[in-house]
Amino acid sequence: MSKLDRRDFLRMISALGVSAIIPTELNNRDVFAAETNSDLVLTLNIFGAWDVSSFCDPKLNTEFELPINNWANGLSDIPKAGNIPYAPAWDNAALFEKYYQDMLVINCVDAQTNSHSTGQVVAFSGRLSPGFPTITASVAGVYGPSLAMSYINNAGYKGTGGIVGVTLAGSPQIIPRIANYNANEHNFSQKYFPPNVLDTMQVAKLARIERQLAAQNLFPKHRNALSQLYLATSNLETLDRINDFMPAELIVDTDDLGQHPSWRQAEIAMVAYKAGLTLSADLGQGDNFDTHSNHDQDHERMMRRLVRDIDTIWQLAEKHGISDRVTLIVNSEFARTPFYNADKGKDHWPIGSTIVMKKGVPWTNRVVGRTDELQNGIKINPVTLQIDEANGSLIYHKDVMLALRRHFGVVDHPSITQFDLDTDQEFDFFNPDLSTPQLYS
């Protein structure tokens, strides 16, 4: 029995026409992630639709109009941190003052939907219909489709477009135990099988799948399942690398604001990234921002937690020494109405924002995209990013997705080009020399 390496296998099944799950051209960075140039790409999913007018697209109340924000009563101006205006509510100031140099704020992103489920799909994949990969799946699918946990999804839309497998990590702290599958669960140094015997078994298992895959009369589903099984089996031996980077204790994820599920999700993703197992992860912030009633009260509590979450994720990145290798995308399906309803709530509003964070790069400390006083969209020129109501365009999630694809260097990869975002133009969001003048500049 001979053992194919993963590349041999990928070539083999590519020849069999199983391109649906495997890119036809392997990127030369499909190796130990710590040796690659690829960032760890994290998304923080704000489920339920956040109120960006109380965060990164701040709005004061306008005379003769329904009040947008109660916190803005009596205020006449909006503060800025660096070049970024922010809502001076709750704990926002601390976050923006600390991280404005690491933020690119994209305002006026039109979700084109008011449905949560559709909004989640479009916000994280760029298309209203399911089927396209998230940006996290795209990065993983291009730079490491065969890594053991290349793409981890803890929450939210998890579309892969078939270019990478997804690891659903409902309880991330158990991953270390799973990674040590040949060891006593109470004593990782005590093994079940000697290494050479384990290797014999591994070779036999892979050879068996190769024989099954060689059959010519398989349904596509059957063949894809076998291919997935082969990749998962061949990835097993890489799992124990996680032990080299696992801290003695994972972060304590409960504080005075309650439990923060995204913290351990982030830490496990970072450890797995350092171990070369993971390139991207979707983190679930955990709250439901869908405040159709009692908006101020509920949103305040959740926004304070969100601020704490973003800060903690970056602290974790510092702790693990990869803060310069992390990109964090904070996103939600859409936003909330620029007025309160009869139940003191705010309903759905399609014009929202996306924040992209990274340290030590020139394209941050900027805001692009613009809404008016009532959070209506304003067209901008895609090239100059200046307001251009006559000939400009509104920003859609597909435009943000296209910009992110280009930014991460995956836009022209054969795995990705099959997912045409059907954009009319390309916005130059990551050009450090361009910004859109803001309402309260």
């Binding site: 489920s117 599958y181 589903k221 059957h222 399942a225 076998l226």
Partner: protein, 1041 residues
């Protein structure tokens, strides 16, 4: 246009429809004699209403245009100019002959009139595409009425003339592509073919075909009846099909298979199947904080189980545990158990919504004072129908006082409000359903209505029409869901059903939550002081549509939710939705969604796949509605049988298609990942273990690796029905590593559980012991009686040898004898060993007193003894194995004779084992041991992989060679690391410690079978079998279906 055509009757020109601005008129004009150009005077006229302007005459300014006037075989158009308005007179200003229609157009007209109009336009399109209808705002608006053939033909013609690609668009819409009205015509239906032909005659379609719907399954190789039964048995019963069951379907044909499948739909495991899969759709197990739903001021004494626990134990934490977890979980199960009850008793499936009862177990029976009778009141898994008999209004009669047991929300209710009859409506008003899909002040039961539509009518309202993003519409504060067309498109069908839930409150769906209604207080009593629409006695919002369904409304005084249940189950879509509800349970994938983007590369294949599936769904739904058998309509067991009998379930392999066409078979064939729950059932059934992490004796709770949430449940794709609601469709490395754990770790107890049994009762290892190696020719236990040289005896054994080298062995197994508190050591005294062939020719003669002088004999223990009067020199053997080489010249029967006597302590006779092993390459061995191992591997492969392969099958031989390789590696490792080798856990096996079998039980076990497991000499065999088990359980055939 015929009905609007002008006609000439003598001197009277009749114009049935004349459009003047927004008005319609019917007029008659009379020819004025002897005029040139011709003049006409108005001789009659009246305003008409509801006419179509298609093909009508028009009066614009002073010109009256008449598009068509037939005179004999010739058709004319006319233009008249108004020359006088008192009296009204026209003169002919223009006229000409209308070009005759082509043969294709005439044929199209005929097809339209005979089939398209009555069966498609008037039967389907007209439901929405009509002025004032849901699609009245589109560019395709038709006219109702069988006399409107020409008018509607005109609409279609105009549409096709004006819309580029309009023919393809209409065909796609009819098939459901980007069509708010969903599928109207399946691609293989006669109606679709007529529509297709009609559009082709008009030259307006260009649909290309690849895999055709009709021949879709021609290239599919179906599973045999036996394989179908194997697959179904695993799915429905979590076990292997028995030989008797398999024989029966082989003999009974397809009808026999159906009968066998029907028989599988019984028992507790089948109930698990129903419950788990129903919950995968309903997600009612995810109802949050449901213990608050049955609080004591709503349901009299509903917490008395918890209270009893406190009174019995004094433990407050157990009270909370009981209320919030144990009872709550049973409350969550009520909708699922209703389905189980209906299915088990073969009641019409419609009863899941129309049941006037709720299912209760002994606990929930007390929670709801439900009055059910139980066969075994202590059996919490017994569910019986009951009714909620303790629901009370919360009103000014309700009296609270602080509870003497503050852990029960801090209050007690000595006097309750008025007791109400709870109007059961099946699943729809179970506390679990209402709590899982809560409402809010602005949602107003729309979530409940949305899911009722989705689950029971197969209508996804969220996906039925794109939501508006028009800022003007969004900013519309004039009750847009009632008035704004952007919103009414969905809310027109959505909100009446929400209204049918009018009696149920926001969070926990309390019936008449406010004492008489469940309306939101912000609506009833606006905080800003504005005037409320609410009037005393209202039960629904006046600014929403009235409760109803499909344009019908409940009678005054009728309970609207019970009425809705009847309406839904009476709707033909209920049957279709039921098929879709159980689709994933049987086939492992969700029903396909119709592809939306026509420019996608695989659009056509996906459309075909969708249409095939949709056709199957409709066919199954028809049968479900009318009844597949004499069991009657809506028998779910019959439906599941038919689904399993379908080629969709039985598809095994595919032959004869290109790679591109294969894409049409998305979702078909093997490759379903067994869920965590299915794997658990399979592990228990097939492997004989539960895979327990530990047994919590205090709580009598077995902690199972695979289905415990904090262990591997979620990582293996389990759901919590709330935050995690989807099972994975991709197999991850993490999932694979869990299976690796099953193989590496779990194999120890898989072996142990089976090998401690006597051979005859084993299911996994009936052909081997852990000392069976591939070269083993025979083993025989020999018992010696008596004590001392006086008991010397010659014991002979006969066996068949093949030519070549063999190793004879004598292994003394019961040396140590317990004698009171001390022990004694038996000894075996050996004098001679002789081997003769069947002709009594001597092959080997070993003088045991000369062992030191005999090369090749391996004797690890014992000592030489001098002979005497009664014996020659001898060898006294301790507890070890003596090995003696011999060369066999030819195949035949041989007799091995051993002259020996025992030194026996205690009452038990001395026993030794005489054996013979072949030498040479173990993979090529023909020895009995090799055959036994192969035979056992064959059994394991077939059992774990659900195959029926012979012992010579390639995969059996490959598995055997793997076993040999692992065995040889184990031996090598053992030789190289004699002091540490046993530290590898795989060298041992023990029975699973679980409920009913403790560590003490294991230690106390003293059987020959266990001694084989404990024997240090056998550890390399244990490792080999554990390694092979890992190979088997990690295979596609074990973890997929």
């Amino acid at each position: 246009m015929r009905s609007q055509e002008a006609s000439l009757n003598g001197a009277v020109l009749s114009l049935p429809v004349v459009v003047v601005g927004q008005q319609f008129y019917q007029i008659d004009l009379t020819l004025v004699p002897n005029t040139e150009p011709l003049e006409f005077s108005l001789s009659g006229g009246t305003e008409i209403f509801g006419a179509s302007n298609i093909g009508a005459s028009t009066l614009v300014g002073a010109t009256l245009s008449i598009p068509l006037l037939r005179v004999g075989q010739v058709s004319y158009f006319l233009e008249l100019s108004l020359i006088s308005d008192s009296p009204v007179k026209f003169k002919l200003s223009n006229a000409g002959i209308v070009t005759p229609e082509s043969a294709e157009i005439q044929q199209a007209r005929e097809i339209f009139g005979s089939t398209v109009s009555p069966s498609i336009v008037q039967n389907r399109c007209i439901v929405c595409h009509i002025t004032g209808g849901l699609s009245g705002h589109t560019r395709f608006v038709l006219t109702a009425g069988n006399d409107q053939v020409d008018a509607n033909f005109g609409v279609l013609s105009e549409f096709l003339a004006n819309i580029n690609g309009g023919g393809d668009l209409l065909l796609d819409k009819a098939r459901g592509v980007s069509h708010g009205g969903g599928v109207q015509l399946a691609g293989d239906s006669i109606g679709f073919q007529n529509f297709d032909q009609f559009l082709s005659l008009l030259g307006k379609k260009s649909v290309s075909e690849s895999v055709s719907v009709g021949s879709f399954f021609d290239a599919v190789i179906l599973l045999s009846r036996q394989d179908t039964l194997r697959k179904a048995t695993e799915l429905l019963q979590g076990r292997l099909a028995t030989p008797d069951e398999l024989s029966a379907v082989e003999a009974g044909g397809e009808d026999g298979l159906k009968a066998a499948l029907f028989e599988l739909m019984n028992g507790e495991v089948f109930k698990d199947f129903i419950r788990i899969n129903a919950n995968d759709i309903l997600l009612t197990m995810g109802a949050q904080d449901i213990s608050d739903a049955f609080r004591a001021d709503r349901f009299i004494d509903s917490w008395d189980i918890s209270l009893q626990v406190f009174l019995e134990t004094g433990d407050e934490s157990l009270v909370t545990q009981t209320k919030d977890h144990i009872v709550s979980n049973y409350v969550r199960r009520q909708p699922l158990e209703l389905i189980n009850y209906v299915v088990e008793n073969e009641r019409p499936y419609t009863e899941i919504l129309t049941a006037d009862y709720v299912m209760v177990n002994p606990y929930t029976n007390r929670t709801y004072k439900a009055g059910a009778e139980f066969i075994d009141p202590k059996n919490l898994e017994e569910w019986q129908p009951g009714t909620i008999n303790n629901y009370v209004l919360l009103n000014d009669k309700t009296v609270y006082k602080p509870s003497e047991h503050p852990f029960l929300m801090g209050f007690q209710v000595p006097v309750s409000g008025d007791l109400l009859d709870y109007p059961h409506a099946g699943i729809l008003n179970t506390p679990a359903f209402l709590t899982r899909y809560p409402s809010t002040a602005t949602n107003r039961n729309r979530a409940r209505a949305r899911w009722a539509y989705k689950f029971f009518l197969g209508v996804d309202i969220e996906a039925s029409a794109p939501r508006t993003t028009d800022p003007v519409a969004l900013a519309d504060t004039n009750n847009p869901t009632l008035n704004n067309p952007n919103c009414t498109v969905c809310h027109e069908i959505h909100d009446p059903v929400a209204g049918a839930f009018q009696d149920y409150g926001h969070d926990w769906g309390w019936y008449k939550e406010n004492g008489g209604d469940s309306l939101d207080n912000v609506y009833k009593f606006p905080e800003d002081g504005s005037t409320s629409l609410y009037e005393h006695g209202d039960t629904w919002y006046r600014d929403m549509r009235s409760p109803g369904f499909n344009g019908n409304t409940p009678a005054i005084g009728e309970n609207s939710l019970k009425w809705l249940a009847q309406e839904i189950t009476g709707d033909p879509r209920f049957a279709t939705a039921s098929v879709q509800f159980w689709w994933k349970a049987i086939f492992g994938t969700k029903p396909l969604l119709i592809p939306e983007v026509e420019t996608d590369a695989d659009f056509q294949e996906r459309l075909t796949a969708f249409e095939v599936e949709n056709s199957l769904i409709n066919g199954l739904a028809d049968g479900f509605r009318t009844g597949f058998t004499d069991h009657g309509p809506y028998n779910l067991k019959d439906l599941l049988v038919e689904m399993i009998m379908s080629p969709r379930f039985r598809a095994g392999n595919l032959e004869g298609f290109s790679e591109a066409d294969r894409n049409a078979y998305v979702g078909v064939g093997p490759g379903r990942i067994l869920t965590a729950e299915m794997m658990q059932a399979k592990i228990e059934s097939v492997l004989g273990i539960k895979w327990v992490q530990y047994y919590d004796a205090e709580r009598d709770n077995e902690i199972l690796y695979l289905t415990t949430d904090y262990l591997y449940h979620f990582l293996y794709g389990g759901i919590d029905s709330f935050a995690i609601t989807e099972r994975p469709e991709d197999y991850s490395t993490i999932m694979r590593s869990i299976i690796e754990l099953l193989g590496l770790q779990g194999s120890g107890v898989i072996l142990g559980n089976d090998l401690i049994k006597e051979r005859a009762s084993r299911t996994l290892f009936p052909f081997v012991e852990m000392n069976t190696n591939p070269n083993r020719v025979f083993r025989q236990s020999v018992e010696l009686t008596g004590d001392g040289v006086d008991a010397k005896v010659v014991k002979s054994s006969t066996t068949t040898f093949t030519p070549g080298g063999k190793i004879l062995s004598i292994n003394f197994t019961n040396q140590f004898i317990q004698n009171g508190e001390a022990g004694e050591f038996n000894r075996l005294y050996l004098e001679r060993l002789v081997v003769r062939d069947s002709q009594n020719n001597l092959v080997l003669d070993v003088d045991m007193g000369m062992l030191f002088d005999t090369p090749g004999i391996e004797v690890p223990c014992g000592s030489f003894g001098p002979g005497g009067q009664q014996a020659n020199n001898y060898w006294g053997l301790d507890a070890c194995e003596m090995k003696i080489p011999v060369t066999i010249p030819k195949t035949g029967e041989y007799t091995i004779s051993v002259t020996a006597w025992p030194r026996q302590y205690g009452p038990e006779n001395l026993i030794y084992t005489l054996g013979a092993d072949a030498t040479g390459d173990m993979k090529e061995s023909l020895a009995v041991g090799a055959q036994a191992i192969k035979q056992n591997i064959q059994l394991l492969v077939n059992r774990l992989w659900n195959k029926d392969w012979g012992i010579d099958h390639t995969e059996i031989q490959i598995a055997y060679e793997l076993w040999v390789e692992l065995y040889a590696q184990g031996l090598s490792y053992k030789d190289a690391n004699p002091d540490t080798w046993f530290n590898f856990i795989s060298t041992q096996a023990n029975a699973e410690l679980s409920r009913g079998f403790s560590w003490e039980d294991w230690q106390a076990l003293n059987t020959p079978e266990k001694s084989y497991l404990d024997d240090f000499n056998n550890h390399q065999q244990i490792m080999a079998w554990r390694g092979l088990m890992s190979y088997l359980v990690s295979d596609f055939e074990f973890i997929y279906q």
